[in-house]
């Protein structure tokens, strides 16, 4: 058997150890291999977590962290909703302002266009009035 084959076999056997499968430790395997497999199995069987003091404490802590996260998400969502309403209000205000401004311009134009045209006589009278100086009027 080549080294590559041996490595493939040992990798397969290690995977069997970690998935808690029955390992076919037959005499066909070299003795050295069998010893390696026994040690691997012992390593895998050490469970130090069952007596752990932090298992439940950490779970509670994570639950609190999740609750806090959800609360902050809700607050953020609320703020973004308020933000949307504010944007909508600003849009409406701008539109109203635009319409108002347009109405004012239109009204001015209409007034300007509808105002009566000056007659030739009016122009002569105004010119005459302008020409008379106050001193002249007194004299």
């Amino acid at each position: 058997m080549s080294n590559r084959d041996l490595n493939a076999i040992i990798s397969f056997l290690f995977d069997a150890v970690i998935s808690n499968q029955e390992i076919p430790l037959t005499s066909s395997l070299p003795n050295d291999f069998q010893e390696d497999m026994r040690l691997a199995s012992k390593l895998h069987n050490i469970d130090m977590s069952s007596e752990s003091r932090i298992r439940q404490r950490l779970r509670n802590q994570l639950e609190k962290q999740i609750a806090m996260q959800q609360n902050s998400d809700q607050i953020l969502n609320g703020e973004s909703k308020t933000g949307h309403t504010q944007t909508r209000h600003t849009g409406v205000a701008l539109l109203s302002f635009g319409l108002g401004a347009a109405a004012v311009v239109m009204a001015t134009l209409l007034i300007f266009l509808q105002s009566p045209e000056k007659t030739a006589g009016d122009e002569i009278i105004s010119e005459e009035i302008e020409e008379v100086s106050p001193i002249e009027m007194i004299s």
């Binding site: 490595n7 493939a8 040992i10 990798s11 290690f14 995977d15 150890v17 970690i18 998935s19 010893e35 390696d36 040690l39 691997a40 012992k42 390593l43 895998h44 050490i46 469970d47 130090m48 977590s49 069952s50 007596e51 752990s52 003091r53 932090i54 298992r55 950490l58 779970r59 802590q61 994570l62 639950e63 962290q65 999740i66 996260q69 959800q70």
Partner: protein, 190 residues
């Protein structure tokens, strides 16, 4: 008669659901606590550090669950990447500040186990854990990922950046080295 069919959801599916509702993360916590905790105990110098690093791993995983992409990596690989980075950082920091007398190291072949470990584990298991901690960091890391983290060689390769074949070879060598250390210790005791 109606039979209830149980569907075991994959970790990746639960992780994806955790993004929408973080409460689902607790199911992953229940599945992975032992594996992560044992990994930390194999690699940490004491129980307190292992407790602390396990807590940090799950807290970080929960905080970063939004960034997990099931199409990029299996959940186990993602979680153990966080765990491994934390323990490596912690060991690096400890190395920087800790001064160990060489005479002391010479006198004791294996680092002694903590009182908590002595209470929990049998003598043989204590010897095994102590011997494991004397291996070079890389070998200890691979053995911990394999036998405490219960990861496949492919997953380990993804986490460590090694090739799958290299992982297999190094694991086998590490087991051999561990066995030799235990045998040497037996000889020394006799």
């Amino acid at each position: 008669m109606n039979e209830t069919k149980w569907v075991v959801l994959e970790d990746e599916t639960i992780a994806a659901c955790s993004i929408a509702d973080p409460n689902n993360f607790l199911a992953l916590y229940d599945r992975y606590f032992s594996r992560v905790y044992n990994y930390m105990r194999y690699r940490s110098p004491d129980t307190y550090t292992a407790d602390d690093l396990t807590s940090q791993t799950f807290e970080q995983a929960l905080a970063k669950i939004d960034s997990y992409n099931p199409q990029k990596a299996p959940f186990a690989a993602w979680l153990f990447t966080i765990a491994r980075n934390l323990v490596n950082d912690s060991l690096r920091r400890k190395k920087r500040i800790e001064w160990v007398s060489l005479d002391h190291v010479k006198g004791t072949p294996f680092q002694s186990t903590s009182p908590e470990e002595q209470a929990e584990l049998s003598d043989e298991q204590q010897r095994l854990v102590s011997a494991l901690k004397t291996l070079p960091a890389k070998k200890c890391d691979l053995l911990a990922l394999k036998f405490a983290g219960e990861m496949t060689n492919r997953e380990i390769a993804r986490i460590t950046g090694m090739s799958e074949q290299n992982v297999g070879v190094t694991l086998h060598r590490s087991i051999k080295k561990l066995r030799k250390r235990l045998l040497d210790e037996d000889v020394n005791h006799e």
